[in-house]
């Protein structure tokens, strides 16, 4: 074990890799060790459910950086490192192969693990989740024209896979236990716009029904699903998009505070001053919304990485970025700024016949969220401006928000940051 001052990152996903890069960008000259266990270099996950499943992009083309980058930046990337434990007393990460890596500062960016189905038949061949590049390679083989795909869960992953499978010429059924799609993420009306589009494209979307069991052939291969309403549906594979669980096990075992995710302060530092967390795994207090939250999205992983790297170098910066999320399905895009779920009233702006934005205002009339659905060209700019207004905790007259003839950008000049 080396005694050189070192930055160690557990988790070579979006946040981990970007944080490694940001440490160098912020002038850290010492060692950086990036510990991954997926067997491949860090890659961008958003294309997995879209371009990769469409066959337009290989998983290798999703790499965040090329090999030369890690060499040039002197980042010791290990892609088969399984961590046994964090030894806080020794300030070292102990690997399962017995080696350990000492740290001056440690970043836990272990992300989240997809929840798997547990109903009878869940271990049959042809039952999948989609989280990693390896998962995508398994799923891409299932999406041949004419095959029947059962997707469990009408969240973003499930719906993106549905759109991709339709484009690949598959027959698609989406089975959702809740009464509507995207329960946690967007207002009901946004979800309804999306589901309507899926149905137009031929997806069989069913709500308030669960998979009771997965039926298999003697070949141990999926042949169908049995639903809670008694119907049986034949299908060639099952893909579960039923949420994720933050990978907090290492932190918990090391006695680091966990509250849903790894609990950090507003500088992304845990209760151990040498240890930080970032990305999907971390639960952080948000200054704007005055509550603790955990976000599972690309932008948050990026933004956290940038700030946490600086704070690992003791800059003490507060994280207060406005959450922003997108999903691309068919020719539609969904963009969400802020936290629509924190709103109590809604103002709707129809930016065109097929595109609209829903603004969410809290009890005090403060804009807290905006969800746009439709063409990117019709919604992106206004959602972007809303993102700025949310950062300013602006109180905006809902009638201005609803009136599409009112330009939003001038409102920014009125609302000081």
């Amino acid at each position: 074990m080396s005694n050189r001052p070192a930055m160690v990152i557990i988790g070579a996903g979006q946040s981990g890799a970007r944080a490694a890069h940001a440490l160098r960008d912020n002038g850290w000259e010492g060692a950086i060790t990036l510990l991954g266990n997926e067997g491949v270099a860090p890659y961008d996950r958003p294309p997995l459910s879209k371009a990769v499943l469409l066959g337009q992009k290989t998983t290798a083309q999703c790499a965040l950086y090329d090999e030369a980058f890690y060499r040039d930046q002197r980042i010791d990337l290990r892609i088969d490192a399984n961590v046994q434990q964090i030894d806080r007393a020794a300030r070292a990460v102990v690997l399962k192969d017995g080696h350990s890596v000492g740290y001056q500062r440690l970043l836990i960016a272990t992300g989240a693990a997809p929840r798997r189905l547990t109903v009878p038949g869940s271990t049959l061949e042809g039952v999948h989740v989609l989280r990693t590049a390896a998962d995508a390679l398994n799923v891409v083989d299932e999406l041949s024209p004419g095959r029947k795909i059962a997707i469990v869960g009408a969240g973003f992953i499930g719906l993106e896979i549905a759109a991709t499978a339709i484009a690949r010429g598959c027959e698609v059924i989406v089975i959702e236990a809740a009464a509507r799609a995207l329960m946690r993420a967007v207002p009901e009306i946004v979800a309804a716009c999306l589901v309507e589009r899926h149905r137009q494209m031929g997806v069989d979307v069913r709500f308030a029904v669960q998979v009771d069991r997965i039926i298999g052939s003697t070949m141990k291969r999926v042949t169908g699903v049995k639903l809670s309403d008694g119907t049986s549906i034949a299908c060639d594979c099952v893909i579960a998009g039923i949420g994720v669980k933050p990978r907090t096990e290492l932190a918990e075992a090391a006695g680091i505070d966990v509250a849903d995710g790894i609990a950090v302060d507003d500088t992304l530092r845990t209760n151990d001053p040498h240890i930080f967390a970032a990305g999907d795994v971390c639960s952080f207090p948000h200054r704007l919304f005055r509550r603790r939250m955990r976000l599972e999205c690309w932008k948050n992983a990026e933004d956290h990485a940038r700030i946490v790297a600086r704070n690992m170098l003791d800059r003490g910066e507060t994280y207060s970025e406005v959450p922003w999320f997108w999903s691309d399905q068919y020719d539609m895009t969904i963009q969400i700024a802020g936290m629509p779920a924190f709103g109590v009233t809604t103002a709707v702006r129809e930016t065109s016949a097929a595109s609209r934005i829903f603004f969410a205002l809290d009890r005090d009339g403060v804009l807290v969220g905006a969800s746009g659905v439709g063409q990117a060209s019709e919604i992106a700019r206004d959602v972007r401006i809303a993102q700025e207004l949310i950062a300013r905790r602006a109180c905006i007259d809902p009638t201005l928000l609803s009136d599409r003839s009112v330009k939003l950008k001038p409102l920014l000049a009125v609302e000081a940051l």
């Binding site: 958003p46 060209s377 992106a380």
Partner: protein, 116 residues
């Protein structure tokens, strides 16, 4: 209207007054699409389509001297086309611009037929 010099031709994209301060418009010419910007440093132009996925930068958001793509919020430096923020990582092609008599002229690759 077009004036040729070597490999580029100068075409009128719009009146200078048509672009608000810190804003961008789309300009299509000879089968190509451009984004024309007005920022504190002056007028600039680039390819219209983002280098990441299919989105037009004229639908994006200008922040000081950067353009942010409307689809995934990647950013480019407007004067140089340099990628500034992920997910964009491929350089954005820029084009020379000059303002004459209140008009914004764009230096675009000369058309083969225009050379005769």
């Amino acid at each position: 209207m077009a004036v040729e010099t070597n490999d580029i031709e100068w075409v009128v994209a719009c009146a200078a007054s048509e672009i608000a301060e810190e804003d961008v418009i789309r300009f299509d010419y000879a089968g190509a699409s451009y984004a024309v910007y007005r920022i504190a440093e002056g007028f600039f132009a680039s390819d219209g389509w983002c280098t990441h996925e299919r989105a037009h930068l004229a639908d994006g958001f200008v922040l000081a001297r950067e353009i942010e793509c409307p689809l995934h919020q990647g950013r480019f430096d407007i004067p140089t086309g340099k990628p500034k923020s992920p997910p964009v990582c491929v350089h954005l092609k820029t084009y020379p611009v000059r303002v004459e008599g209140g008009e914004v002229l764009l230096g675009v690759p000369a058309q083969a037929q225009a050379a005769s």
